[in-house]
């Protein structure tokens, strides 16, 4: 408001100043014009005076010539007389024209003119008399003095006129002078006023600028403060989420174990409620953690190679069960021209898809859930995808759509009562999509269904550039012994070339039986198994290898199926038969290297089922296993907490001791990756402690959560 007023004031002063300058300008132009007008008048008066003098001289010349003739009678004098007479007539005409604008002067001039004419008539009369020989009569006429009287009259009228004209001239000069002085004064005054006004405007402007700078500075300060507060909130949220999650995992673990025991139906139901509530709480906390990470800028997207199709199929297979339970079908379509190998953050992409799919399932009770992938365009090795997730569920009213992507907002309050949920899912989804440089939009109609559209661009993976821990394929060496079971000669050659490039030792056989035979006698680290072979096909061979009474040396050897992805259900059959993974034909080097490295490097399993099986075997009723898991669930949250506290207090000895003990616990229940992480924590020393401990603990906490999930899945199986 104050700013508004001062702004208006500046404008007023500045424009007044400018008007004053303009006024002064106009005034000076006008006064100049007036001045030149006045001087014209003056010139005019002077000219009139000159003409009058001329006339008088001419009159005198005419009289002199007449007298000369009268005295001498010589014709010579008649010439000048005639000349003067003619000139007098022109002079009279000129003067009349000159003074025609002035009435009083014209009147005077008329008198003068009649006197002049009479004088001339008188002169002419005497001359006519003299010429006709009546010289004496002429002289008598002159002597009567009429000529002199007439001449005196002319003279006096003449002087009168001259005096009047002179007075006029004086008056005009004076007036011009006065006007000039007045104009100068006014111009000076206007200029002075302009100066003052502009000075005031400038001062006001300076104040204004100063106050605005001040305001801007305050604003920046306030913004920084707000930012800080927001970060603080995010950090607090993140910390709290961690703290809540740890005991919560304990609760979930214990309920799981409890539910395996002998319970009455009622107790089981109650326990189920505890579990459901805990899971809801856990997912809320996880979402909060995600959101706070995003908001505090802690969430960094990965940039790694991944296979789109297996990622999408994996996501769909997770929700398929839920969908089927509700009688929904899932329609998945990925355009064929989308390359399989892309670069991006597969985990977050999966999170986005899962969020949308879960939503679609949650809000539908019939129809089909569509998940379609299309190519929009390919540009500079980036592919622009359009992903559509749509359902035929309850839909949304237009006014609720606008609030859809806000944190903690569910489209409709009644929704949370009917369907549960935190209202964070879509906010996170939107943020993730935007972090990936994409956009998300939604269309919906009440009762008809909802359709989410994602525009997302991903880098196209380079087949020759597989990054595995940032080492390119050229550096990637796999020292492994590989058995290839493949009947097609061309494919055999392809495998031979690729395996050679990878630095593997390999043996190639043409059918399943030969492969089984080789595995009995030779040591291998991995099998590449064509799914379609004459005789024993890949499925049959794998079943034989994995069978209880199998004679092969290493029953659990990793087997990778080599399948033509076009054949539906092929992959599923292979995996069901006990193969570990699959490679699609045509074989890409990157894919082969990636998959082989995954299985050869013996990536520590999250949940080592062998360890659990062994525990189960230790007693007949599996009581020990259950007891071990119970104790693990009971102790682990405490151990993680102690680790974190030790790290925060920088009590490294305490941290090592706890890690040492916890590591052993992890190993006992087959928590392979968790054990590795804890071991790394134990082995930290020197500068690493401060740098890495915190991160490793966080990784361990996450891994613990994932391990527990996997453990539950195992428990359910």
């Amino acid at each position: 408001m104050i700013q508004m007023i001062s702004k208006r004031r500046i404008t007023v002063f500045a424009s007044l100043g400018l008007f004053s300058i303009l006024g002064a300008l106009i005034l000076s132009v006008w006064s100049g014009h007036r001045y030149s007008q006045t001087s014209e008048w003056r010139n005019h008066s002077e000219e009139v005076l000159t003409q009058l003098t001329e006339l008088r001289v001419l009159m005198e010349q005419a009289e002199t010539a007449q007298r000369g003739y009268m005295l001498t009678k010589q014709e010579d004098f008649l010439g000048p007389y005639t000349e003067s007479k003619a000139q007098i007539e022109t002079a009279l005409k000129r003067i009349r024209a000159s003074i025609s604008d002035n009435l009083s002067q014209t009147q005077r001039f008329e008198l003068l003119t009649s006197s002049v004419l009479r004088k001339m008539e008188n002169l002419e009369k005497t001359l006519v008399l003299a010429k006709s020989g009546q010289h004496q009569a002429a002289l008598q006429a002159i002597q009567r003095g009429e000529g002199k009287r007439l001449m005196d009259q002319v003279r006096s009228q003449f002087y009168e006129l001259q005096a009047a004209e002179s007075a006029l001239l004086r008056e005009r000069t004076l007036k011009a002078q006065q006007e000039f002085e007045r104009a100068s004064t006014t111009v000076m005054l206007s200029l002075f006023a302009a100066f003052v006004l502009l000075l005031v405007a400038t001062l006001l402007l300076r104040n204004e600028v100063r106050s605005r700078t001040e305001t801007a500075r305050n604003l920046a300060k306030a913004e920084a403060k707000a930012q800080e507060a927001s970060e603080l909130k995010s950090r607090f949220l993140a910390n709290m989420s961690h703290e809540i999650r740890t005991p919560l995992n304990g609760i979930i673990g214990m309920t799981r174990i409890l539910s395996d025991g002998s319970l009455t139906e009622e107790q089981r139901e109650q326990l189920q409620i505890v579990r459901d509530s805990s899971n809801t709480l856990l997912s809320l906390i996880n979402q909060l953690l995600d959101l706070s990470k995003i908001e505090s800028g802690k969430l960094e997207l990965e940039r790694i190679h991944y296979q789109l199709r297996s990622l999408v199929q994996g996501s769909v297979s997770i929700v398929q069960g839920q969908a089927q339970e509700k009688g929904l079908s899932v329609d998945l379509a990925i355009a064929e021209d989308i390359p399989d190998l892309l670069v991006g953050d597969p985990l977050r992409l999966r999170q986005i898809l899962m969020n949308l799919l879960n939503n679609a399932i949650k809000f539908s009770s019939r129809g089909t859930i569509r998940l379609h992938f299309h190519v929009q365009k390919v540009q500079d090795s980036r592919i622009h995808l359009q992903i559509e997730v749509s359902d035929q569920g309850i839909g949304m009213a237009p006014e609720t759509l606008s609030k859809l992507f806000q944190s903690f907002t569910q489209a409709d309050e009644t929704i949370s009562r009917r369907f549960g949920g935190t209202g964070l899912g879509l906010a996170i989804t939107k943020q993730l999509v935007e972090m990936m440089g994409g956009t998300i939009s939604v269309e919906s109609e009440l009762g008809k269904g909802t359709s989410f559209r994602l525009q997302l661009s991903q880098e196209i993976g380079q087949e020759t550039e597989v990054s595995l821990d940032s080492s390119g394929p050229e550096q990637l060496r796999l020292s492994a012994r590989v058995l290839v079971a493949e009947d097609n000669l061309t494919n055999q050659k392809v495998f031979a070339a690729m395996l050679k490039k990878l630095g593997c030792e390999f043996t190639i056989v043409g059918d399943g039986e030969a492969a089984y035979e080789k595995l009995q006698h030779g040591d291998f680290d991995l099998v590449l198994m064509d799914a379609q072979m004459p005789g024993w096909d890949g499925e049959k061979t794998t079943r034989e290898i994995r069978a209880e009474g199998s004679k092969v040396r290493h029953r659990q050897i990793p087997i990778l199926a080599v399948t033509a992805s076009a054949i539906k259900g092929d992959i599923e059959r292979c995996l069901n038969a006990g193969m570990n993974d699959f490679i699609s034909k045509p074989i890409s080097f990157a894919d082969l290297a990636l998959k082989m490295s995954k299985w050869i490097h013996n990536e520590t399993p999250r949940l080592d089922l062998m360890a659990l099986e062994k525990l189960k075997d230790l007693d007949d009723d599996g009581l020990l296993l259950r007891e071990m898991l119970t104790v693990f669930c009971k102790l682990s949250p405490g151990s993680l907490l102690k680790l974190r506290q030790a790290v925060q207090a920088q009590e490294w000895e305490e941290m090592r001791r706890e890690a040492h003990s916890f590591k052993s616990s992890c190993a006992n229940v087959g928590a392979g990756r968790l054990r590795d992480l804890v071991q790394r924590i134990e082995a930290l020393h020197g500068d690493e402690l401060k740098d890495q401990a915190e991160n490793l603990i966080e990784a361990a906490e996450n891994e613990y959560r994932d391990f527990m999930k996997e453990l539950f899945r195992y428990g359910a199986a």
Partner: protein, 133 residues
């Protein structure tokens, strides 16, 4: 053949490890198993058993413990003339390998490396005369 009656002490500060070792002992049909959650408790139990006239036949002891260490327990047993027949098996992590020599000097009967594999465990115990498959 009936398994021999024996007194066994499991010393480990990690309850899961105690549980696991006990489970394995039970699998070998061993009886008379006692537990101690740290070195000091172990020393007290050992002394008490000695006083009662039934010293332990087998002590499975964790190397790395907060109070009295495994080594300390081993020393205590070896110093006592009445426990000459007591077998001591150290249970260690991979990281404790360099301390093995120390333990050997004190005539430890065997080592078991964590995570304990039942096959290894049973082989070693049977070799020392405990349990049966």
């Amino acid at each position: 053949m009936e398994p021999p009656k024996s007194q066994i002490l499991i010393v480990d500060d990690n309850p899961m490890d105690r549980l696991l070792l006990q489970g394995m002992c039970k699998k070998l049909k061993l009886k008379g198993i006692q537990e101690a959650e740290d070195g000091n408790v172990a020393l007290a139990k050992i002394d008490r058993a000695l006083e009662m006239g039934h010293p332990f036949d087998l002590v499975l002891v964790d190397w790395n413990m907060p109070s009295a260490s495994g080594l300390r327990v081993l020393q205590h047993i070896r110093q006592h003339p009445r426990m000459k027949t007591t077998k001591v098996v150290l249970v260690t992590g991979h990281s404790d390998q360099e301390k093995v020599e120390e333990a050997l000097a004190l005539q430890v009967d065997d080592f078991i490396v964590k995570p304990v594999d039942f096959e290894v465990f049973s082989a070693k115990l049977v070799k020392l005369g405990f349990g049966t498959f």
